[in-house]
Symmetry: D2
């Protein structure tokens, strides 16, 4: 049987913790109740913490603002590492001056790229007969466009002009309330990729680049080895396998995607083995 440990007893042995966001710190209802006391504990003990999220719909600034607005003032912008940051880095390196990134998503998701000086054009505004300046394409968010029209338009754009395509969030779906889910931009990207037979560039856990980004950030604050870091997540296929592979210890929490009654079966059937299993990341004060 599965041995569940208290998060306090687990985390106190580490100098740095990486937290997944959804299912660990927050849910569709807002912050996980009492999660604030966890951060008070970490501050008290001098344990550093960072948030790793497959989110390209918002900038780290906006993501931080959400936490602060919900009473977690300690989650400042510099604590947040998102797959959207990797997408931005990619375009900063690869895009030639004067060219633009076409995208599927909200204006807000594109705005983040623009703060870095990148030009963007929503799929809605792209003229398929004049693609000279569209050099790359990004899947940013599942909202902000008409799926009937714009998914097909994206397919035909990418048939017309061969370009680097970035999927800035690998998640296939996300929960919208207690019972229901919604297709995420990563799921739509899979559909488009399959129909085109092409190969897109994906950023986000479980890919190592996401963990490397966070590790580099942590190294700016403290001299630390990978196996001195604890990765905390609610999903075996992203947080846990990715953390294990990167050489970190991992804690699966049962407050999100992986239900308590299914955890043992899922670990056995997937072969993805967290170092620890904890009920949640909450440390009651």
């Amino acid at each position: 049987m599965l041995r569940v440990k208290s998060f306090r007893n687990v985390v106190r042995n580490y100098k740095v913790v990486f937290f997944d966001a959804f299912g660990v710190l927050k849910s569709h209802r807002g912050l996980i109740p009492n999660i604030k006391s966890t951060f008070e504990y970490l501050e008290r003990k001098g344990i550093l913490y960072y948030v790793l999220t497959n989110d390209s719909s918002r900038s780290p600034e906006e993501l931080s603002r959400w936490y602060v607005g919900h009473g977690l003032e300690c989650i400042t912008t510099d604590k947040i590492l998102s797959s959207g940051m990797l997408a931005m880095e990619f375009f900063q390196t690869k895009l030639h001056d004067g060219n633009a990134v076409g995208y599927l998503g909200t204006r807000a998701s594109a705005h983040y790229l623009e703060t870095a000086g990148l030009k963007t054009v929503s799929i809605c505004d792209i003229d398929l007969d004049n693609l000279d300046h569209i050099e790359s394409f990004a899947f940013l968010d599942d909202e902000g466009f008409d799926w009937n029209v714009d998914i097909n338009k994206t397919i035909n754009l990418l048939r017309k002009k061969n370009m680097n395509v970035v999927v800035a969030n690998t998640d296939k779906n996300y929960p919208i309330n207690k019972n229901d889910i919604s297709v995420a931009i990563g799921g739509l990207a899979d559909l488009v990729e399959k129909i085109l037979g092409k190969k897109f560039i994906r950023f986000g856990k479980p890919d190592a680049q996401m963990f490397a980004l966070a590790y580099e950030r942590a190294l700016q604050d403290i001299d630390i080895k990978r196996n001195e870091i604890l990765m905390v997540g609610d999903t075996l296929f992203t947080d846990i396998i990715g953390g294990n592979k990167f050489g970190m210890d991992t804690a699966l929490v049962l407050s999100g995607n992986t239900l308590p009654e299914m955890a043992a079966v899922r670990i056995k059937s997937s072969g993805i083995i967290p170092t620890y299993v904890c009920e949640s990341a909450v440390i009651e004060s």
Copy 2:
């Protein structure tokens, strides 16, 4: 190199021909030019013909009406075998009295099921809090609903209630003009199936059930063995591999999906080998 034969020299050795529709008899522009003379030839020679189509957006009656309206009076309803017919047969067998089939598609696509006495409810009209009477679900057509809203609604419906799900057209996409394509209902079904991790029932070429349906129809008209039938199609992965597997001879035509300059490479890389390759199914009179 690829040896291309004249369709006349190929077809005259068979008593029965099965035609794929799109790319063989018609295109996005209408009938393939001069295809009418092919049917005059077949009538003259006493060769029987049938049309096999992965189409569940319309009834065989309506499909026939299109041909007749374009001058091919000989394509009567009884000549047409569609994947939609297999879906209808399935529901006639499996659906209990008083229950209904939920669907994604146009009203027209559902109307066909209703002509057989089946009750249907569009996903738009389904109340997720009252699913008692919804017993099965069908993917019928890529039009007639709001993709943003109704694909997610379908996913949550199938999470709420376990039921038989039928994909009445296996095609992933279809051409809408000379250059552009559109996601077909089979592509949307793939997305939903993948997110749910469930297994849907699919009807349409290359599945044997489609060829068996046509073979049974032919047997009503003539006593014939499978290898006395020629399957004519433009797509290696549906018409040709399915025809080969069913024990028929197969002719790949280069008037549709498989471009003349790519045919040899595609045959070699896929390992799907048509008995013959012909430029088109047109027999000039």
Copy 3:
């Protein structure tokens, strides 16, 4: 919760039963205990029965001999429908005189093809520099060859010469004792197909051709509709989804692949819904 019915109460409403073999009639230990009384019951009630098996390692004659040798005299050759029979039919139609089928498998598995007048050559005996007479290839059995040498030889044969490739058993693995499994020829074929990027022709449940073969056999004995037939199997992904799709009623038995404690979860997660669930196919006399 899952409602389990007695097999007697289920089967007596049908005129014809199709049985899967492994997990239903037999296991790695021999016949399922007391299964003989089931056939006595069926004989008494005048219910016809047939055995549908994904097996291409032996001829129907030899398969029958096994049952007879174990005391089930009623399972005569004409009661057995195997995926190997579909493979043989395919080669009888497609192979040109004088040409041979290369194969992976035992001599016994090839011997069956030879009884029908087909020429066969084991991969071990094929000369890659002289392939003129090798027209097709078959995956027949996971035994009878050296995996290290002959899987690679098969790959290079199929790279050298493009030909129709038949996988005569779609199963990926099979149980060899209470705890252990072995890779089946269908699993090895998947490996080869993936490395080549080609598309093989597969015979066996859940493919409709297997059920059509059995249905045609039944029609020789009795005039029957598909929905008057009961398909009995232990595997959701072959017997049950295939039977449902073919328009038959289906009974999942819990004596094989699907363990009693997992059945409800498997049905829910796969979306494959048997008409009935029974503990086993045994009818105590």
Copy 4:
């Protein structure tokens, strides 16, 4: 059309080059002819170079010895970064004292792990009834074991005991002479993973961890940004997409996997776009 540039004109704009090994520096016949003059050029210009290879069959020491033995004295151990190194790092972090890594591969492939103090046991020597000390498993090499026996034994081992499984080379196959290929350990791992339904940990290009390893090594020698590095490879799906994603410039060479006549088609159909295309990495002196 594809614009092919001279490698000299490309490479001279970079401070650091990463080379793929097979198809770039060597082939089944030995060193690529005249590749030595490339390294003389790089030395002259002060351009640093490293070799990134998906190879877990040998230690970096042995890999270096091969180059030195063939006249490339400059490819010293510290220039070589292999997927086997990532596997070793993983086990060093994750394996508890006294425990062992089971493996598929040659004794030589395991010997490398043992030089780091890890205990290893070949699958041939594992007793399935006594697995207490086997904590992890590694796919190291396609040679050194009996595929018929030991692939099945591996499957049953991993069914008996849930453990971290590492695939130390992601390649599916490799060339053994001008015409023929052989299944690589990555292909065998795919087969086993699919049959088990589990998720293994894979090391090797195109995964970011491989490029991060090389980048960290380069940073020890020179202060450099990612986009000042050129990745040179012969395979779009590993070297080029991985290099692009990591933020490096990429050069596809046509001396290996990607044939000159197919390069333009492959780039277009895959959507993987190298920064440059060069005939080979040879710089004639």
